[in-house]
């Protein structure tokens, strides 16, 4: 008879419950597993499942559903190159669990490897002892596109080539972690890791705290501090250089910029003068002290590197060489991603650091050396053959390896020949069986192979390793490392501890903060995009208003007067002028309204404009709240007509009404939540400019000299001023009164005068280029326009005068664009040259 304490009984009960989870879970033969080890369930998973088994199934389902919603709502999306649409981020619901003891060994190995990488880079670009001493063949380096010749001999600020490093790891069948590949160019995934953590810990808040999961924030705080300390100036301006919204990982870049408080800049936002890098802002050129680059080195400077690059900065290499900008990582650091170098790591670690590699390398033989080449050729069918420098293998289109055994005899002979001729292009690698980790599929857990990317950042006190990582999970049961493709999911990585973790976020200590009310200066590109976001939203609203007005008139079909008929035609003409409707004889007004709202083909339809607004927002998403990004997505959905919709007036009216409500919500959100620094002014000015132009145009169309009551009635609808008018005038619409309300009334937020006054206020508040106190070109126009509108008299207005005002507003928009935006972007060209 056994005696058990109540606590022990309780534990048994829980363990019994966890076995319900693990029942039927069968790791792949020959691979190790993160959940089950020889002695049963690994401790971290035992703790996690024990905790989970105390949770009711419906509660778990609710957690998962909440996580799914969060993924969608947070706008987590990523783009596969070439796609206009963004996709949802595929995230596993269950985290990868690693115990702290094991993690310490991983972190020590990553830290060592980061030091090793730095030492190799310093030698390759510096004295070159490794090559001269025979430790590294020159051609094992020279084949990399990321050996950047222009950096040879350069001295990086703070003597660091590498500031952000990542290592891909896999656990082998023997239970050890193996280094699969170094990421030294511009490692991606750290931002996704942050996002994954937010979502997964939101789904399992209790487990996260009871398992003492290490926090990620301190790592990013230290990375930021390390970069900042490397800059010449005390309060450096830090930027993240992105290839732009079409980049695979643009979302991550925008997220990181926002999280770290960096300016998100594209090549066009930067400029180099006299070997100093600057950001183009609305206040002129401002020094760029630190650049975290996500643009591959070869594309960074069309002047010295790839002349075809449109995403680089001419002259940037000169600024980097002069040490005038801290760049993470330095151009050329990517050379260490070459597989040709992997096999040399153990010997180089001994030679440079006097240490054994703490994390073993996946065995790799570079075929540029005779003995290694012969060894690879001997066992071609047991090895993976991969390109040494990322170029495609013969007969293949991507840079991936092939398993010798998978090739036909003929193909294998061809490959062997190619290796004999140019062995320098190839490596042979042993096949690694990856370990598996549990994922949630159809209500139960299943094993899936994964690789783990671990990040390290340079700080003033050496390397710091992020306690967690970016885990990519393959959906195929094939656990051989080389088969990992892009179509994989990711998982949060929990480093599980015995001690409660200290709370920490990016918040610094109080005494380390100087109060600042304006975060740097607004980059011109961001100003440009905010301006257009404002214009698009206003245009979408105007299009919806016209459509609504058109439907309302069409519903009163009976007893149409000729005046009403004419008004309906004018409305349709306006839609055509905007490219929101096509000309068709005798088209039903409802059909035209439908087209104007929901046509995916017409560029002027409200739907197309809303899509343009959303694209604009995605370029500046680091400046917008998630709510506004979500509203824009809802707006697009609202305007999309169901494919099988019969053209029904009521449906169209409801669609227009719903869209107008969302636009109003968006306006409210921007007005109440958008910080009143310069960015808001540009959004507002875009809206005001568009509304000014539209109200002038409507006034010319419907309040022309000799307009009828029906026409004026339409104008009041379009400027949403029916109620105000009726409260002010007992008579029906009269030309002078309506003109005053539409154009001159300073109290009417829809009038031209109101827009011009706001425009002038915004321009007055923007930074000036010169300190001479003279108004700049846009302000000179807005001052005059606002004054004229304020002093204007409706009796003296005619159609010609309104047209004149409209044209001057257009000139104001051009002046704003010329003064504040990237005038030159897009007009840049590479100089061809002549040669006989």
């Amino acid at each position: 008879m056994s005696l058990k304490s109540p606590a022990q009984k309780e534990k048994d009960r829980r363990d019994g419950n966890t076995s319900a989870w693990t029942k039927g879970y069968a790791p792949l033969p020959g691979a190790s597993d993160e959940l089950l080890a020889e002695g049963g369930t690994r401790p971290a998973w035992r703790r996690f499942l024990a905790d989970l088994s105390q949770t009711r199934p419906d509660e778990i389902n609710r957690s998962f559903a909440a996580a799914d919603r969060r993924i969608r709502d947070m706008g987590i999306s990523y783009r596969v190159h070439g796609e206009l649409k963004e996709r949802t981020w595929p995230l596993e619901r269950l985290p990868l669990l690693i115990e702290q003891k094991e993690w310490r060994a991983i972190a020590a190995g990553v830290e060592q490897r980061a030091r090793l990488m730095e030492a190799i880079l310093a030698d390759i670009y510096g004295p070159g002892d490794l090559v001269a001493g025979g430790a590294l063949p020159a051609s094992a380096i020279a084949g990399s596109r990321d050996f950047i010749h222009a950096m040879k001999g350069a001295r990086p600020p703070g003597e660091r080539w590498l500031r952000f490093y990542a290592l891909d790891l896999g656990r082998g069948p023997d239970g050890r972690w193996w280094a699969l590949g170094d990421r030294t160019q511009a490692p991606s995934g750290a931002g996704y890791a942050l996002e994954n953590r937010l979502i997964v810990s939101g789904a399992f808040p209790r487990q996260r705290s009871s398992l003492n999961v290490a926090r990620l924030a301190p790592f990013f705080r230290d990375f930021r501090a390390g970069l900042s300390a490397a800059a010449e100036r005390a309060d450096p301006r830090m930027s993240l250089l992105t290839p732009g919204p079409y980049s695979d990982t643009y979302f991550e870049q925008a997220y990181l910029a926002r999280y770290l408080g960096f300016l998100l800049v594209e090549g066009d936002d930067l400029v180099v003068r006299d070997r100093i890098a600057y950001v183009r802002t609305i206040a002129g050129l401002k020094r760029a002290d630190v650049i975290w680059r996500r643009v591959d080195a070869d594309w960074c400077d069309p002047l010295e590197l790839n002349a075809a690059s449109r995403i680089g900065v001419p002259g940037l290499m000169q600024a980097v060489r002069a040490g005038n900008v801290v760049m993470a990582n330095m151009p050329g650091a990517g050379v260490l991603e070459s597989l040709s170098l992997l096999g040399f790591a153990p010997a180089l670690c001994q030679r440079l650091l006097g240490e054994d590699l703490k994390l073993p390398n996946i065995a790799t033989w570079w075929c540029g050396q005779k003995a290694e080449r012969e060894a690879v050729l001997d066992k071609l069918d047991q090895l993976v053959i991969a390109p040494a420098f990322g170029e495609a293998l013969p007969g293949s289109t991507d840079g991936r390896g092939v398993l010798g055994a998978d090739l036909t005899a003929h193909k294998r002979a061809e490959l062997a020949n190619a290796i004999r001729q140019r062995g320098i292009d190839y490596v042979g690698q042993e096949v690694v069986q990856l370990s598996t980790t549990p994922v949630w599929r159809d209500g139960r857990i299943e094993p899936r192979p994964f690789v783990l990317r671990v990040f390290a950042a340079a700080t003033e006190d050496g390397w710091r390793v992020m306690p967690g990582g970016f885990c990519r999970v393959s959906d195929s049961p094939d656990a051989r490392a080389f088969t990992m493709r892009q179509g994989v999911t990711s998982a949060d990585v929990w480093v599980v501890g015995d001690q409660p973790v200290e709370m920490s976020t990016l918040l610094p200590a109080d005494n380390a903060v100087r109060v600042v009310r304006q975060l740097g200066n607004l980059p011109s590109r961001a100003a440009d995009n905010l301006f257009w976001l404002g214009r698009y939203l206003e245009r979408a609203e105007a299009t919806c208003l016209i459509a609504r007005c058109l439907i309302a008139r069409a519903l009163e079909l009976d007893g149409w007067s000729t005046g009403q008929q004419a008004a309906v035609e004018l409305l349709q003409q306006q839609l055509m002028a905007w490219g929101a409707a096509t000309f068709r004889a005798n088209a039903r007004p409802a059909a035209v309204a439908n087209e104007a709202l929901s046509s995916p083909e017409l560029l002027g339809s409200a739907l197309s404009i809303a899509s343009a607004a959303r694209r604009n927002a995605s370029i500046i998403r680091e400046r917008l709240s998630q709510d506004s990004v979500r509203l824009l997505r809802d707006l697009e959905e609202q305007l999309r007509a169901p494919a099988d919709a019969a053209l029904n007036e009521t449906d169209a009216a409801e669609r227009a009404q719903g869209a107008l409500r969302l636009l109003a919500a968006m306006a409210g959100l921007m007005a109440e939540n958008f910080n009143r620094v310069a960015g808001w002014s540009f959004f507002e000015m875009g809206r005001r400019v568009e509304r000014s132009i539209n109200v002038c145009r409507f006034a010319r169309q419907f309040a022309f000299d000799g307009a009828t009551g029906e026409n004026l009635d339409v104008l009041l609808d379009l400027i949403d001023s029916q109620i105000t008018y009726r409260s002010r005038y007992v008579v029906g619409p009269a030309l002078v009164a309506v003109r005053d309300m539409a154009l001159l009334d300073p109290q009417n937020p829809r009038s031209l005068a109101f827009q011009l006054a706001r425009l002038d206020e915004h321009l007055a508040g923007l930074p000036a280029l010169a300190a001479d106190g003279m108004p700049e070109a846009p302000r000179r126009i807005s001052l005059r326009l606002a004054a004229e509108a304020a002093a204007g008299e409706a009796e003296r207005l005619d159609t010609a005068a309104v047209l004149d005002l409209e044209q001057r507003v257009s000139r104001l928009a051009e002046a704003i664009s010329a003064r504040y935006f990237l005038e030159s972007a897009g007009a840049r060209d590479t100089q061809p040259s002549g040669l006989a």
Binding site: H149, P314, S824
Partner: protein
């Protein structure tokens, strides 16, 4: 031989250009058997910022930035160069090409004159299997390196037609090879692709060649053009040997080296970026005159 070289490049823009930035490789470099007595580059309009340096491959490069609005840009390079090259290498004495290949792959020199940087596909010279197969016909087993390379050069000269209209600056090796025609740049690129395809190092050399005037007539000013040829590595003992496939001749005292790189992209005389729109017209004139004339 002493040469006075004048190389004028002018751009005329339809609409004025607001600003421009250049990397210019218009001044001859120091090279084996070649000394630069003096050289000067003048840029109009005057740059806001101008610096001269030497790039990784040892070429002289000038970075210039023009901030003034301009409709015409003139780059004028004047230099005096003394060329005294050694007697040509005896081709039959050079090592077998397979030995050259193995030596290049195992090179322990990382300097720009070493073979390692010239082994791999580069921006404008991708490896092209048909070009490799074409080159391979001259590289029978154990054949001396230079002998095989000279034969390849002669075959290119015979099999390819000189045709300035057939190709442009950005023509690829594959296109030029398929068409069997082109200019000096294409011939050099095809030959380099063939050599590298065999695992052999080959470099791209830009420069000038003195054109001998027809008997009894005055040489034409500016009739000469910039030229390009191939550097072939013949092992540590013999080093780099210049071969000119356009003329089927070894590089001698009639050639002046301007710059050396992996392909045209490394030595482009006027790489640059300008801000502006609209078309432009380009005019290049080169004058290579023996100083004694």
């Amino acid at each position: 031989m002493i040469y006075d070289i004048r190389h004028i490049t002018s751009y005329r823009y339809e609409t004025p250009v607001a600003s421009a930035a250049f990397a210019l490789r218009l001044l001859p470099r120091v090279f084996l058997g070649q000394r630069v007595v003096r050289s000067r580059l003048s840029i109009t309009p005057r740059p806001a910022d101008e610096t001269s340096s030497t790039d990784f491959f040892g070429n002289s490069v000038t970075f210039a930035r023009i901030e003034a609005r301009h409709s015409e840009l003139v780059l004028e390079a004047n230099s005096r160069v003394i060329v005294e090259r050694d007697e040509p290498v005896a081709a039959g004495l050079t090592p077998a090409w397979e030995a050259i290949r193995d030596a290049a792959h195992g090179a322990t020199s990382f300097c720009s004159a070493g073979p390692a940087h010239h082994l791999y596909p580069s921006r404008l010279v991708r490896l092209h299997d048909p070009a490799t197969a074409y080159a391979a016909r001259s590289f029978s087993p154990k054949r001396p390196m230079l002998e095989a390379a000279c034969e390849l050069m002669g075959r290119i000269r015979r099999d390819f037609a000189y045709d300035a209209a057939a190709t442009a600056v950005e023509t690829t090796v594959a296109e030029a090879f398929e068409r069997r025609r082109g200019v000096c740049q294409d011939f050099a690129h095809v030959m380099i692709a063939g050599l590298r395809g065999l695992g052999l190092p080959a470099s791209y050399v830009s420069g000038y060649i003195r054109t001998t005037p027809p008997k009894g007539s005055q040489r034409l000013e500016g009739a000469d053009a910039s030229h390009a040829w191939v550097g072939v590595w013949c092992g540590a003992e013999f080093g780099w040997v210049g071969l000119d496939p356009t003329n089927d001749m070894s590089v001698g005292d009639d050639h002046v080296v301007l710059a050396v790189g992996r392909d045209y992209a490394d030595v482009s005389p006027t790489a640059g970026v300008f801000i502006g729109s609209g078309a432009h017209a380009l005019q290049v004139s080169v004058d290579v005159r023996p100083a004694s004339e």
